[in-house]
Subunit: 343 residues, 2 copies
Amino acid sequence: MGPPGRIAIASLTDKRSRTDIRAAAIRSGDRRALARAITLIESSRSDHRDQADALLAELLPYAGGAVRIGISGAPGAGKSTLIEALGLYLVGRGHRVAVLAVDPSSSRSGGSILGDKTRMELLARDSAAFIRPSPAAGTLGGVARRTREAMLVCEAAGYDVVLVETVGVGQSETAVADMVDVVLLLLLPAGGDELQGIKRGIVELADIVVVNKADGALKAAANHAAAEYRHALAMLRGRFRDWRVPVLQCSAVEAQGIGEIWNKVEEYRAVTERSGAFHRRRADQARAWMWNEIEEELTDAFRSHPQVMEILHRLERAVSEGTTTPTAAARRLLRAFMGDRRA
Amino acid sequence: MGPPGRIAIASLTDKRSRTDIRAAAIRSGDRRALARAITLIESSRSDHRDQADALLAELLPYAGGAVRIGISGAPGAGKSTLIEALGLYLVGRGHRVAVLAVDPSSSRSGGSILGDKTRMELLARDSAAFIRPSPAAGTLGGVARRTREAMLVCEAAGYDVVLVETVGVGQSETAVADMVDVVLLLLLPAGGDELQGIKRGIVELADIVVVNKADGALKAAANHAAAEYRHALAMLRGRFRDWRVPVLQCSAVEAQGIGEIWNKVEEYRAVTERSGAFHRRRADQARAWMWNEIEEELTDAFRSHPQVMEILHRLERAVSEGTTTPTAAARRLLRAFMGDRRA
């Protein structure tokens, strides 16, 4: 179904050279080339997808050099303020910082959580920082994939710290935890029940907990909250035998306690690199990522299969109502999908 | 590829009537018929699988009537002792109790955690109780599926309480939480760090926490532990807005505090039925179960596809080592699998 050989080769070499030029520009630190590459990655056009894959293959050998930090926490916890404070602290120490985001909701809300850069005005103006809004559209899986790939490109461009912000609701925390080396969970000084309750499942993903807004009137409350959370976390065994999740305090607004956060991140990296957990985690993430994409694609193919579409809705309802067993429904649907390949 | 029509129909009606007889025997409370039906469900022979599906379809209208209780907790927490105490308490109050187990490890250990019935001698001897060891072999997915189906058959047989024990390691807790209405997490009075630390992810699944061995020398420790866990759990928001996970104490050995546990289960059921969460959870479980089976089957078909098998191992290693992107590897593998259907 492809074009005749000569043209195919021509367009291939053509694409090849374009890829080389792009890759070189990105590695040289050309910010516009970097931004364009991420736009390419975010495109849903299949020819763009092919170009993106070629570019990523070219850049991959130069990726992986950054510390990947996820910033998680409920809306209003002060994630953007912390990212700006931490980002400025790091560029001040000679680091190059890329800020990405995973916000599948942005397709609905129409704009990304990082779209409004005035929230990180100072950092956005710094030449050693690169801020990229969350890809605007698509499923969480799609958004996460594009953010992951954007992270690789940023690393190839020489950014040695990547901060990934989550919107702080739903499953995006998990998606971020699956792509970073360390997850910072930002919490507010315990107030009403809303603030008290750490959303289950999210605290599980945290490697470092930070109580923000430890300033002014809230300083005492933050102290108390930190002690409370420390106590709560002591009940939970950490992800790694060799790491007990610490609870720090900071004031993102006053840029207090930022150095302590960075020190903890470096300590975490040192401990997990020594134990091998750091590289195991990255290898596991990469394999899991591959299998997620495969399963997503397979499920899409399944859901869009004409014979499946004919009966899926009815069977799904029957299963919910308990009028057929999940197993029987699954077998029925699989026969519809596989029939033509099995026989 | 099937047999000629007449024979097919014959064997079909034949199977039909056999199914009717089996179903009737099970519903009449024939324990041997029940045991045989579960053996049929556990069989991996495809003709048995067809018979099992037919039987389940026949029994499904009579299933769903039991309270499904998962009993989770680390090995040594006293799960079996609690199950016997709770089971005897319930049969004493006129309930009919079925005890099942999810123990994928039993394929390795060679026997099920419930295989040694002497651990529940009194309950095993009670005519109002039915104890079934975990299916001996297979993946967690397979074991869970068979346990789920055994649960339906037990319900059709008139058991109004189903207790599902987990082996208390690995993912079996999640599998059990996905098939029951309420999860009891059994804990030991806090001792060494091993006992202190609630394994992350498991506490997340608990609807009711019970500190066991609140007797003799450990009574004080149990009180202390209960307070500690209560404090820790207060930090975590429950699965449902309208339910705060309570922390109870009991002595399974001395059958103390068993009534309180049952009262909490009934309270939990009342609260979640009022809010609709109870039935939502069952419907979600059924749909999720169906999709799990579909995804498992699809992944199996994928992994066993000849063109995929040719390149999978190499690509998976390349992804782990970071020499290719997960996306590129996934696309490459999907082309190998889908090629023949897409073109």
